[in-house]
């Protein structure tokens, strides 16, 4: 048995706890009626004196649904003897939403008989708000990170295009410079040859020598011309064309290479396409380039699929975004050239349109195929994209504005 002084000390502790704790404390009887609440809870209920709560229940202070929920908890505690700990409760109070972290337990008398419940709640609204704020900040951060990543992507692609355009300009300037420096001496040699050719010589070898020099000059001049042709801005001979007809024609031109590699050809050509204003010869060159690249990638056989379709710029999905070339709503004629080869390593995808980029062995390719292809398509106001297909192989998609728009 406790001594009177012991009881007195316990009472003191209890009193101090009840009166000074910032947490909400209460004791209830088996009917859910308050036996005692502390000052903090009285203030929370909007009461001047904790005594005012005695005999009242949660139904007097909370909305009915809330009060019922808490009563259910208490019934459960009293039946099982098991406490509820750290339950997060959301209360809507006149001042706004309040978050409480509550623990409740059964209250027994000296004989162990259940006489009610008691509980303790801590107001964690501040922490909760901070946490929520943190979450929003976090979400905002994530979103802006996504936007940044996207902006970076866009910048990168713009930069790549700029680099490409710059390079082409450089190649053009270089070609002009080389042409000037090489063709002028060639012109002098040619004039000299012309003069000598009009003379007669006793030594018959001189004729042969002059003719050898002449063909050497022609060869050098041919190389420079090709360089100039490649870098010169081209003029197009635009006429309404049926793209399917150009495809069939280009396929005939590469028939040998397809057959040699045992490549199966699948044509999925939409026959109801509107005409497109194209330079037939140049676009056939584009198609031949794409077909030969595909054939080269399928040395040990495979399937070449050539597909045409009509699409519309929607602005979302479908890989057709409105850009400088295509306005929203525009009708586009699409040509897809897909192979079942090894595809293009991710690290090279950004380089394949660069002049002189090739993975072919020396002497087999110039690496100008796709550069020329892209230049021609750009001149047509079209677009080209080459990507790897998830099922394997590469796919080139070319888009042109349809004549109808």
């Amino acid at each position: 048995m406790s001594s009177p002084t012991q009881i007195e000390t316990e009472r003191l502790f209890l009193h101090a706890m009840l009166e000074s704790s910032p947490d909400y404390l209460y004791f209830k009887d088996t009917e859910g009626r308050f036996l005692r609440i502390n000052r903090a809870l009285a203030a929370y209920f909007g009461l001047n004196d904790p005594a005012e709560a005695i005999g009242k229940t949660d139904f007097d202070f909370y909305p009915e649904a809330k009060a019922r929920e808490q009563w259910q908890d208490e019934l459960c505690i009293m039946q099982t003897g098991r406490p509820v700990t750290d339950k997060l409760e959301r209360h809507v109070r006149p001042g706004g939403v309040v978050w409480l972290l509550s623990s409740k337990a059964v209250l027994c008398d000296r004989e162990g008989r259940v006489v009610g419940t008691f509980g303790m709640s801590r107001d964690i609204t501040g922490e909760k708000r901070a946490q929520q704020a943190l979450q929003t900040v976090n979400a905002d951060l994530l979103r802006s990170r996504g936007e940044l990543v996207q902006a970076l992507e866009e910048l990168r692609s713009v930069q790549l295009q700029l680099v490409e355009a710059e390079k082409m300009k450089l190649v053009g300037r270089l070609a002009a410079g080389v042409a000037h420096e090489v063709k002028n001496p060639l012109a002098i040699i040619t004039m000299g040859l012309e003069y000598l050719n009009s003379r007669t010589f006793e030594d018959p070898n001189i004729r042969t020598i002059l003719s050898e020099i002449g063909s050497a000059v022609e060869r050098a001049d041919g190389v420079i011309r090709e360089l100039l042709d490649f870098s010169a801005p081209k003029k197009l001979n635009l006429e309404p064309q049926e793209i399917n007809r150009l495809i069939r024609h280009a396929l005939v031109l590469v028939r040998g290479e397809l057959g040699g590699h045992h490549i199966k050809l699948v044509e999925e050509l939409d026959e109801r396409l509107p005409p497109v204003r194209l330079d037939a010869t140049k676009i056939e060159q584009v198609l031949v380039n794409l077909f030969t690249n595909a054939a080269y990638a399928m040395e040990n056989g495979g399937t070449l699929t050539v597909r045409t379709s009509l699409r519309q710029v929607t602005g979302m999905g479908e890989n057709i975004n409105p850009n400088d070339n295509f306005r929203l709503g525009a009708h586009l004629v699409a040509v897809d050239v897909c192979d079942t080869g090894p595809g293009i390593p991710e690290s090279m995808l950004g380089k394949i349109f660069e002049p002189f980029f090739t993975t072919k062995p020396t002497g087999q390719g110039t690496g100008l195929g796709l550069t020329v292809t892209k230049t021609i398509i750009d001149l047509h106001g079209g677009s080209i994209e080459i990507r790897n297909r998830p099922e394997g192989g590469a796919c080139a998609s070319v888009l042109f504005k349809a004549e109808t728009d």
């Binding site: 042409a179 000037h180 002098i188 040619t190 004039m191 003069y195 100039l228 003029k235």
Partner: protein, 124 residues
């Protein structure tokens, strides 16, 4: 005898052009290698036809052609451009630069003489 003035900064080229053209076509050929003195030469020589290089230091063929066309005493003189940096395959309609006939360097004697004949004013 028709007088031809060649304006080109390549002295080796003009010298050989002169030799070849004099021998093959019976033309009287004059050279000018300094573009800044081109107008002086044109006024002095009064050629029947001018062969004009496009890319030259200090002044280009286009500027010189414009000066000639602005001078009423010289405006009638036919001009043929010679250029090393334009390829013939790149179609400039009718082989003309800004309305002038043009030949790409290196040029064969046959093509040169054909072009000169075509552009010389009719004798009378």
């Amino acid at each position: 005898m028709n007088k031809i003035l060649i304006i080109d900064d390549e002295a080796g080229f003009t010298r050989l052009m002169k030799l070849t053209l004099q021998q093959a076509g019976g033309y009287e050929v004059f050279e000018e290698n300094d573009a800044t003195r081109a107008m002086e030469s044109v006024r002095r020589v009064r050629p029947d036809l001018i062969l004009l290089d496009v890319v030259m230091p200090k002044m280009d063929g286009g500027d010189i052609a414009a000066c000639i066309r602005k001078d009423s005493a010289l405006a009638h003189i036919p001009i043929i451009f010679l250029s090393a940096i334009v390829s013939e395959k790149d179609p400039i309609p009718g082989g003309l630069i800004g309305g002038f006939p043009f030949l790409s360097k290196p040029v064969s004697l046959d093509a040169l003489i054909a072009c000169i004949r075509e552009n010389l004013p009719d004798p009378e």
